[in-house]
Point group: C2
Chain length 143, copies 2
DNA sequence: ATGTAATAGTTGAAAATGTAACTAACAAGC
DNA sequence: GCTTGTTAGTTACATTTTCAACTATTACAT
C-alpha cells in the first residue's frame, strides 16, 4: 500500500499554484494590452533590465528563442519596443522599450506589485522569504 | 524608485519552479507512454480515486472539459480506460482504468514518488510541509 | 405536456506552441 | 582564400489549446 498522493506531488502542486496565481494578473495584461504570457515576460525583462538581446532574455527567462522571436515581433508591431542592430556583430539585435512600452510596463509593474502583496497577505515576512528561496531553488533544476 | 523585482514576483517564480520541476517527469510519461500532460493527469486521478466522471476530474484538477474530453479519448484509444454510461442519467459517463491503464499508473506513480523525494532532498520535513501548505493555499485562489 | 433552462460531453475553427529546418553573420583552422 | 562549425534570429509545419457552437439528456416551471 502506497502513501502517494497526487495532490501532494510537488510538480502537480506547483503547477496548480502557478496557474491559479497567474490568472488574475493574466487577465489584466490580456484585457488592458492584448498581451500573451511571453509578451509580458519580454516586456518586463526590458523594463527591468533595460536594453537586452533576445538571447539574453531567453537565457534569463528560460524561454525558447522562437517564443522570444514571436513575442518581440508582436511588441514591435504594437510599438512597445524597437530593435537596433549591433554594429560590431550584425547578427545581434538590441531591444529596448519605446515610451509607449515603458508606460505599459510601469502600469503593469504597479499591478504586479499590488497583486504580489495580495498573494502574500497572511504570510509572515520570513515565511515569504523562505517560500521564495525554495521556489528559486526548485526553478534552478535543469531538465 | 521602485523595489519591484520580476524574479521575485510570485506568479513568475511559481511558473519557473513549476516548469523546471515538471520537466523530468514529463520526459518519462512522454517517452514511456506517449502521454501529454492532461493525459497523465486524468490517468492519475482515475488511478488514485477510482471510478470518476469527466466533470468530477475537471472540478478536482481544474481542467477545462474540452481538455478532459480529448485526454479521455486518447487514453481510451490506447486501452488505458473504459467508459460506462450511467443508467440513471444517460448524459454521464463513468470512467475507470483497464488493467493496462492501471499498470501504467502504478509504474508512473513509482516514478513520481521517487522524483518527489529527489525534489525535496535537502529540505527538512517541516520545510516541505510548510511549502506544500503554502502552495495549496495559493492554488486555492479563484481567478 | 410543453417550453425553457441547465448540465455532460463532443466537435470545428482559430490561435498558440513546439520542433526542426532555415538564413545570415561570425569564428577558427588550414 | 576556403571549408567547417557556431551563434542569432526567423519561418514553416505539425501538434495543442482555446473558444464557441453543437448534440443529447435531464430538470423545472407553468
Amino acid at each position: 500500500m502506497s502513501s502517494f498522493d497526487l495532490e501532494q506531488f510537488l510538480p502537480y502542486l506547483l503547477n496548480q499554484a502557478a496557474e491559479a496565481s497567474s490568472l488574475e494578473f493574466q487577465q489584466v495584461y490580456k484585457d488592458r494590452y492584448g498581451m500573451l504570457r511571453n509578451e509580458w515576460r519580454v516586456l518586463f525583462h526590458l523594463g527591468q533590465f533595460g536594453r537586452m538581446t533576445a538571447s539574453e532574455i531567453g537565457a534569463r527567462a528560460r524561454l525558447h528563442k522562437t517564443k522570444i522571436s514571436r513575442a518581440v515581433a508582436k511588441l514591435e508591431a504594437r510599438r512597445f519596443l524597437i530593435r537596433k542592430r549591433d554594429e560590431d556583430d550584425r547578427r545581434v539585435e538590441h531591444l529596448h522599450l519605446t515610451p509607449t512600452g515603458r508606460a505599459a510596463f510601469e502600469d503593469l509593474r504597479r499591478v504586479a506589485e499590488r497583486y504580489d502583496s495580495e498573494l502574500t497577505a497572511g504570510m509572515t515576512v520570513s515565511e515569504i522569504a523562505q517560500l521564495r528561496a525554495q521556489l528559486e531553488h526548485l526553478a534552478q533544476r535543469r531538465g
